[in-house]
Symmetry: C2
Subunit: 280 residues, 2 copies
């Protein structure tokens, strides 16, 4: 067992667990949470990855998003990874939007980040293999979602791995990191000025360069979100989807902001969306 169980609590008839493990990809210890629905006691279950936003850890969505109720009903495992490598030896930046808590779900190439900030490899390879080996997950049925920076992560990882993620959705995602301050700072810091590399981590550029994926994309975006116009820009994703022929539904939710109160309000819809696509 490479996973150390830190805590578990019964929740909606299933188990909310927190694990710690030594990550090779990130060269540090990492934590993540996993919700096992009641159905996982008897059979392997589909999994939905939930990628969190800036400043978050594995804990925020686990305690605030309220996903356990619907996951228990639908028999979905929910995995919440942390958002960056962690530890005193891991380089950091004073800003909230770069360094720890801001891994952007990509593999850095620049110093001093390259040694630890390999979040794409961590999520899609190392943590996937660990979970597949040690938890009752049906790895042929994976979906992915996330919020803000984690919405960017869900979209880009799904667009790059269409054979792996059968369903994809996002809450208020950063739709085009190339076209917003959060994204440009992260891409320049982690990847340098290699614009071809930037395009591999931008949902709009991936659609333009690689074309559509089979999976339909669901996005919810609050219209009272302070970051809507400057950072998130769902209109760019809609335009890229239309040009490339990507099926997408972007729902604009009047009055909702960027908080977990927004996510909690619509997580049931997203899990039902994933559940329908992961059943078959």
């Amino acid at each position: 067992m490479k996973l150390e169980l830190l805590n578990q609590a019964r929740c909606f008839g299933g188990e909310q667990r927190y694990y710690k493990h030594a990550s090779t990809a990130l060269a540090c210890d990492m934590r993540f949470s996993v919700y096992l629905p009641p159905q996982a006691q008897k059979a392997d279950c589909p999994v939905v990855w939930y990628l969190s936003g800036l400043t978050c850890t594995e804990d925020n969505a686990t305690v605030k998003a309220g996903f356990q109720r619907t996951a228990a009903e639908l028999g979905l495992i929910i995995v919440c990874p942390d958002t960056s490598p962690r530890g005193d030896h891991v380089p950091d930046d004073e800003a909230y939007d770069f360094g720890k808590g801001a891994g952007f779900y990509l593999d850095a190439t620049e110093q001093p980040w390259v040694k630890n900030f390999q979040m794409e490899t961590y999520i899609t390879k190392e943590l996937s293999e660990l979970i597949g080996a040690e938890l009752p997950v049906d790895m042929s049925k994976q979906g992915i979602t996330g919020h803000s920076m984690g919405g960017h992560g869900a979209l880009t990882l799904a667009l790059k791995n269409p054979e792996r993620y059968k369903s994809v959705s996002a809450f208020s995602p950063i739709c085009s990191p190339i076209e917003c301050p959060w994204g440009r700072k992260a891409l320049a810091g982690y990847l340098g000025q290699n614009q071809a590399a930037w395009r591999r981590h931008d949902a709009c550029a991936l659609l333009a360069d690689n074309g559509p994926i089979d999976a339909e994309i669901l996005v919810d975006q609050g219209l009272a979100d302070d970051f809507l116009e400057t950072q998130l820009k769902p209109e760019l994703l809609e335009a890229a989807a239309e040009t490339s022929g990507q099926k997408i539904t972007v729902r604009r939710q009047a009055g909702y902001d960027h908080s977990y109160f927004f996510i909690a309000s619509f997580i049931e819809d997203h899990l039902r969306f994933h559940g329908e696509r992961l059943k078959s």
Copy 2:
């Protein structure tokens, strides 16, 4: 307007708000949260008070209990007060179970606590009047619930104010402070050695001394709760209810612990219980 709005976020079609106000009863500034369901835009709605446990503020249940979904469906306002007076000038204790974060929903008589630790007056008079005056609450339809120390608070305030609280429930309540270490420490510290005063803040003693109330009581208690045998003791409440003729349902939930994952799992049941009794 005596209430200062600190934050509000749309949630399940309603509004999750945080307020600050100057409390006379507690001689300090206080915060609380209030969830206004969509129905409150058009008419006054019933209110359920949620009293939190040791170490909590108004925020814990608001972000972790997941009450907004069912409250929105049923048209219930949910008020989460803080658990003690706050501020640098308020006396405190190093322990987590006494002083700030541990007001025990009683009015202290001992120094140095007497000036600020008047949580019973704060909840039942000052905050009630404020909310009744400034928010769309139907004050003829009030219910009360809480967790742990807050479960003790819900039970004792309901037993002392049967005309006010038409419905009462609790999650893993401290059932008899007189008979557990948390309770004895708080009662002795805040009230001194006046045993008659202790009995006014003990649900079991109130049932013995005053007899039953009309409202049926609902209690949920996890059987994997680390505090079950030493601090919570639901068997004492059941015995006192039987002796006094109090209607009560105590549900023992296998595998559940003392955390918000437990509360989140059963909050819907509790709100439906309150909603049915507050409708008429």
